[in-house]
Amino acid sequence: MAELSQVNAPIYEALRKFRRMRVVPFDVPGHKRGRGNMELTEFLGEDCMSVDVNSMKPLDNLCHPVSVIKDAEMLAAQAFGAANAFFMVGGTTSAVQSMILYACKSGDKIIMPRNVHRSAINALILCDAVPVYVNPDVNKQLGIALGMSVAQVEQAIKDNPDAKAILINNPTYYGICSDLKKITEIAHAHGMLVLVDEAHGTHFYFGENFPVTAMAAGADIASVSMHKSGGSLTQSSFLLMGKNVNADYMRQVINLTQTTSASYLLLSSLDISRKRLALSGREIFAQTVEMAEYAREEINGIGGYYAYSRELINGDSIYDFDVSKLSVYTLPIGLAGIEVYDLLRDEYDIQIEFGDIGNILAYISVGDRKRDIERLISALSEIKRRFGKSGAELLTQEYITPIVAETPRRAFYADKVSVPLDESAGKVCTEFVMCYPPGIPILAPGELITPEIIEYIKYAKEKGCQMTGTEDINIEHLNILAD
């Protein structure tokens, strides 16, 4: 057999071969290549249903890969410059959780910025690790949390020399990068593992002139959402490991929570997408950046809006910027980001990634067409003309420094009572409150509820943010620690 290279996609090739063999299925899934569920088959297509199959010898098994999945993972590791790579079918959420479950046991400390995705704090609930939050720098004008400053990381390490790992969110949803190399060096010098939530950075590995990748910076483990900028199916991701990580132990950690019936639709989408990016990622992301740059220039030409980019770089908490991101500050036209987000969908049939208090984010990828970019720009121009206000009273989005009173796990499992939002000030929250997306908690389990936070939650609700996390679906009550 010829040696494998990036032109191969072993899982995909095995599935094609398998389909040709017309094997008679007396195994699960029970839809039997779609024949048992014609309505679904008509909707998704016969081709799709015919490869929705179970693990078997010719197709390997994700829980314990020995053949085609192992080969595909090896090719992925090569493509990403990692020592090992695992296919993940539970989203980047499961990849982030696996990194933390690998690094921390009960009572271990982990240093992380507070503006992490909920999946990271969820992992702390699972394993009872103790978060040491580094408060991110905040850009006062835009109201967005930035990267981690090196000095703050140094301080956190000095104060917590017993911490086992540091988790870095790089790039942020908005495209902001920390000084990954420097932070990695410092952490390693103190014997800590470096975990990177690289959900929004898949393209860094394949395009040109992007910020440094976690693997290139020497980080130990990284979670990349192949389904975001990489083109694979929703819910499929990669977990990447450096040479000092015990991949076999990591697999055991992953198998604690990952399904034993991994979807071959997801696996083949990862395999094919990796091949595509390895072979033509450079051109793909050059096009993406060109579209984002064009849109930025045009949007800034409308006036009022501010589509920001590399000019924000400050050498520390904005060490680098991902120019493929199209983040736009909307407050100068008198509208909150979430209002612009809603108008784009309701008035112009344009769905963007998210809107928060002061910003919107439009996700640009190779799947975009020039003419759709023109529509987005024109719609923003029209929103300003039709709905723009001056001097509107708008809250600037402030990052609110949390006051941690309990570990996330203890708070989550403690006896709790539900109280009206207005009566919750001064109490310890036992659940998450966040806008989704971006899914960065306003409150996490174990944090003190302050009047400032209550005001923020009310404002975000009033502006139409999609709030999630609480047991009370209407977010009128919060669960607090019982006295």
Partner: protein, 283 residues
């Protein structure tokens, strides 16, 4: 030998024209362009396989999309045409002495080149000194215009493909902004007959109604378009298409037309009940 051009009007209905020979086939950055010659309809242009015009019936479309707004506006000097790379609308517009400037925005330069070469009946007035051609996405061009035009004619293809941006609310809103305070926009409004066309027609009507204070629809009979029953949108900031219409003024211009006339102008706004109902549903 029999060679036929066939277009699907719905998944279950086909429309065919016997082709004498194919004169041109090429691909631009945006679409496939074909020119055929036929006994029944003369030469015809298709884009991505969709009928755009035939020499035999193009006069109906071009007269109706041009003369209706030009007859309502008392003094159209500055006119913008979006799409229309075949030159038919420009041909009709250049017949008006009152027009001082015609800007044509066509996304696909190759359509203009091919039309100049193979469709002399429509692409015959591009050399008029009042005509200025911009090869650009209409959505982008119009975004930068404010209070500039008396009349805008949107001669779009279909609400899918390169022309789909010309059926959007952001585009209609930009047109509103680009017009003077008494400006008129006329657009190709699809057909009310087959379900999918009717849905697209309703969608664009809804968006125009939301963008302009006056929004009416008129019709014409175009044999080579799906169902033959075709609509145009008349959106206006000030003038009503029939109440503010002065037939004498237009008749005095002495323009010779084959389809449009002063009585038909008013009649074209009288729509069948089922069309009225479709429009009312989204108003």
């Amino acid at each position: 030998m029999e060679l036929w051009f066939t277009e699907r009007h719905t998944p279950n209905v086909k429309f065919s024209i016997k082709v004498d020979r194919q004169l041109y086939s090429g691909n631009s950055e945006f679409q496939r362009i074909d020119i055929f010659d036929s006994k029944e309809f003369g030469r015809f242009l298709t884009l991505d396989g969709y009928m755009m015009l035939t020499e035999k019936d193009e006069f109906i479309y071009h007269e109706m999309i041009t003369h209706v707004p030009m007859a309502v506006h008392p003094s159209p000097k500055n006119v913008l045409v979006i799409g229309a790379g075949d030159g038919g609308v420009v041909r009709e517009l250049t017949r008006y002495d009152c027009v001082e400037n015609i800007d044509l925005v066509e996304i696909d330069e190759l359509v203009v080149e091919v039309s100049k070469q193979y469709l002399p009946t429509t692409a015959c007035r591009f050399d008029d000194p009042r005509v200025h051609i911009f090869y650009e996405d209409g959505v982008k061009y119009i975004r930068r215009c404010e209070d500039r035009y008396d009349v805008i004619i949107v001669d779009s293809t279909d609400p899918f493909g390169p022309g789909e941006g010309l059926f959007t609310k952001e585009f209609y809103g930009s047109c509103f902004k680009a017009l003077h305070e008494d400006g008129i926009m006329v657009n190709q409004h699809e057909s009310p007959f087959y379900d999918e066309d009717a849905a697209a027609m309703q969608r664009s009507h809804k968006r125009i109604v939301e963008s302009f204070p006056i929004s009416k629809v008129y019709q014409a009979h175009i044999p080579t378009y799906p169902s033959g029953h075709w609509l145009f949108g008349f959106a206006s900031k000030k003038y009503h298409p029939t109440n503010d219409y002065n037939p004498t003024r237009w008749n005095l211009l002495g323009l010779k037309t084959r389809y449009y006339n002063a009585r038909l102008h008013t009649g074209a706004f009288a729509l069948p009940n089922y069309v009225e109902e479709l429009l009312r549903d989204v108003e």
